[in-house]
C-alpha cells in the first residue's frame, strides 16, 4: 500500500482570481465539469466520502427542472473547525464551488446552511456574497445563493435533516432512499456538499483533474484540511496530502506522549498507540472529515468516552429507537460499570448493542456511535472498568 509522508500544501486558502475559474467552468459546461470532477477522484470532505463527481452526475441526470445546491456548513463534529476557517478566509471559493455545481447539474438556487454557532460570521459573509453575485451575473451564471442559519442541533449536519431544517421543521433525518440527488430539498433533486468539497471543485477546475490526482493516494486523491486539537503543542488547521499514517501524523503534531488519536470526531474511530504505524488516514484506512484529536497519557479514556456518549445522547434527534435509547444505554452502562454496579462483562453486551446501533439506526449518527464506543472500549477496556 502506498503511503505518504506528511506533505503540507496550500490550495484551499491560497488566494486566486475566482472569475478566471468560473469563466472556465462556465465554458466547460455541465458535462465538462462533471468529467473533471469524476476524473479527479475527489470524495466528499464532510466525512462520508461519497465521490462528488458521481453525486453531481446523478443529479444532472434528473429531468426535473427545479434543482438545488446546498452547502453543508453545519460543522458540528467535535474537533472540527475547518469549515469556519474556510468560510472566514475564502468564502468566495465556497460560493464558487456552489456556482460550478449549479452549472454542472442545472440548478438556479443554492443555500448555505450555516451552524448557529457561526452566526458572528454572517455580516461579513453576506457582504462577500453580494460581490460574488455581481461577479457571476457578469459571467452569465443564472444562480442565487441564500443563507440559512442553524440553531444548535448537531444532527442537522446530516444531509436530509439539514433539508428538513431549511424547510422549517425539526431536523429529523429522512428515510433513504430516495436519495437527495433524486428527492432532496423541497422534494427536488439536490446536490449537498460540504464546504471544503465545494472549494475542492474550484481547485479541480482551476488546476485540472490530473494535477489534483497527483496528490494523495489512489483512493484518497487530493489534499485535506485537518483540524488538529487536543494534546498537541500546535493545535490548528493544516492542509495535508491524504495517505499519511497515524504515526507520521503523531510525530508531526503530538506532544511526544500521545496514547491515542481520535480520527473523525465523536463519530469517528479511536486509534491507540499500538496501531499508529499501520493506520492510514484516508478512505483506504480511517476516513475523517478532518477532526484529529490527540490524547496523551494523562487523559482518562473513560472520560473521553463518557463525554462523547453524553454528546450523542443529547444530540441524537431521538426519532429512532436504536439511537435514542441506545445512546442512553451506552452512557448509563459505562457509568454503571465504572461504579461497579454492573459487572465488567456488561461491557460485552454494550459492545453488541453498539453493533446493533451501527446496522439498524436510521441515519449516520446512530450508525457511527458504535465506532467511537467500540474502538475505545476495545483498546482501553481497563480504563473504562477501573
Amino acid at each position: 500500500m502506498e503511503t505518504r509522508k506528511i506533505t503540507k500544501v496550500d490550495l484551499i486558502f491560497e488566494h486566486i482570481d475566482p472569475r478566471e475559474v468560473l469563466v472556465k467552468a462556465y465554458k466547460l459546461g455541465s458535462e465538462g465539469i462533471i468529467q473533471e470532477m469524476l476524473d479527479s477522484g475527489v470524495k466528499g470532505r464532510g466525512g462520508a466520502g461519497f465521490p462528488t463527481g458521481m453525486k453531481w452526475k446523478f443529479c444532472a441526470a434528473e429531468p426535473e427542472p427545479e434543482k438545488y445546491i446546498v452547502c453543508n456548513a453545519d460543522e458540528g463534529e467535535p474537533g472540527t473547525f475547518k469549515d469556519r476557517e474556510i468560510l472566514d478566509r475564502v468564502s468566495y471559493k465556497v460560493f464558487g464551488g456552489m456556482a460550478i455545481a449549479a452549472r454542472a447539474v442545472g440548478a438556479r438556487r443554492g443555500y448555505v446552511y450555516l451552524r448557529g454557532e457561526y452566526k458572528f460570521l454572517m455580516p461579513q459573509l453576506l457582504m462577500e456574497l453580494d460581490g460574488f453575485h455581481k461577479m457571476i451575473d457578469e459571467i452569465g451564471y443564472d444562480f442565487r445563493i441564500e443563507f440559512k442559519l442553524g440553531s444548535g442541533a448537531y444532527i442537522c449536519g446530516e444531509e436530509s435533516a439539514l433539508f428538513e431544517s431549511i424547510e422549517g421543521k425539526r431536523g429529523e433525518p429522512r428515510n433513504k432512499p430516495p436519495y437527495p440527488t433524486k428527492c432532496g430539498l423541497f422534494g427536488k433533486p439536490t446536490v449537498v456538499n460540504n464546504v471544503e468539497t465545494l472549494v475542492n471543485a474550484v481547485i479541480i477546475i482551476k488546476y485540472g483533474s490530473e494535477k489534483y490526482r497527483s496528490m494523495g493516494t489512489q483512493f484518497s486523491t487530493g489534499a485535506k484540511v485537518f483540524s488538529v486539537s487536543g494534546d498537541t503543542p500546535t493545535p490548528g488547521i493544516y492542509e495535508l496530502e491524504l495517505g499519511m499514517t497515524c504515526l507520521e501524523f503523531v510525530k508531526e503534531f503530538g506532544d511526544g506522549d500521545a496514547k491515542a488519536v481520535q480520527v473523525g470526531g465523536a463519530a469517528g474511530f479511536c486509534v491507540p498507540r499500538k496501531a499508529f504505524a499501520k493506520t492510514i488516514i484516508g478512505f483506504e484506512g480511517v476516513p475523517t472529515g478532518g477532526s484529529m484529536k490527540l490524547f496523551n497519557s494523562s487523559r482518562s479514556m473513560y472520560n473521553v468516552l463518557h463525554n462523547y456518549l453524553d454528546f450523542f445522547a443529547e444530540e441524537s434527534c431521538g426519532q429512532c429507537t436504536p439511537c435514542r435509547i441506545g445512546t442512553q444505554q451506552l452512557l448509563r452502562g459505562v457509568e454503571a460499570v465504572k461504579r461497579g454496579e454492573m459487572k465488567s462483562a456488561y461491557l460485552n453486551e454494550l459492545v453488541k448493542l453498539a453493533e446493533t446501533m451501527k446496522i439498524s439506526s436510521k441515519c449516520g449518527l446512530g450508525q457511527s456511535v458504535g465506532n467511537a464506543f467500540n474502538s475505545i472500549v476495545e483498546n482501553f477496556r481497563e480504563e473504562i472498568i477501573y
Binding site: E75, G76, E77, P78, G79, T80, F81, D83, R84, R115, G116, E117, Y118, K119, F120, K148, L149, G150, S151, G152, A153, Y154, S165, I166, E167, G168, K169, R170, G171, S227, V228, S229, G230, D231, P235, G236, I237, A266, K293, R299, N303, V304, N307, Y308, F311, E314, E315, C317
Partner: protein
Amino acid sequence: MYQTDNLVKELVELHGAGRTSLIPILQGIVEKYNYLSDDAMVEVAKELDLSAAEVYGTASFYSFLDIKPRGKYVIRVCKTITCSMKGKMEVIETLEDMLKIKVGETTSNGKFTLLETNCMGWCHKAPAMLINEIPYTELTTEKVVKIIKDYMHQ
C-alpha cells in the same frame, strides 16, 4: 418588556408566511428577547397557520431556540471533549462565582444566563464560550473575569 405582536408581524413580512420561514422567525424573536414566550409561539402559529404544538415541537428541537426565559446575555460554555480537557470546569466555576448562579440559571436581574453547550468549533483555542453570538476563546480565569466585568458594565 416582551411584546411580540409587532415583531412577529415584521418578521413574517420579512421572511414570508410559509413553513420555511418558521425557524428564521423564531430566530428573529430569540435575537430580540433571548427566548420564546408562549405568547410569542402562539402568535407565530397564528401567522403561519400552524398548530401551537407544532411550533413548540420545532422550537424545542433546537437548543438555541430557548423556550425558557433567558437573560439579556446568554453565556454558553462549550462542554465537549477538548474544552473539557483544557479547563472548561474552571471557566464554569469562575462564571458561577461571579454571577452567583449555577449552570442553567439566570441572574435575578435578568442580565445573564449560564448554560453549557456542545462543541462550537473552537477546539484549537479551547476552552471557549459564546456570549449571545460572540465567541470567546482560549479562556483563562483572568480573561473570563475581564469579559464578564465588561458585560456587567454594559
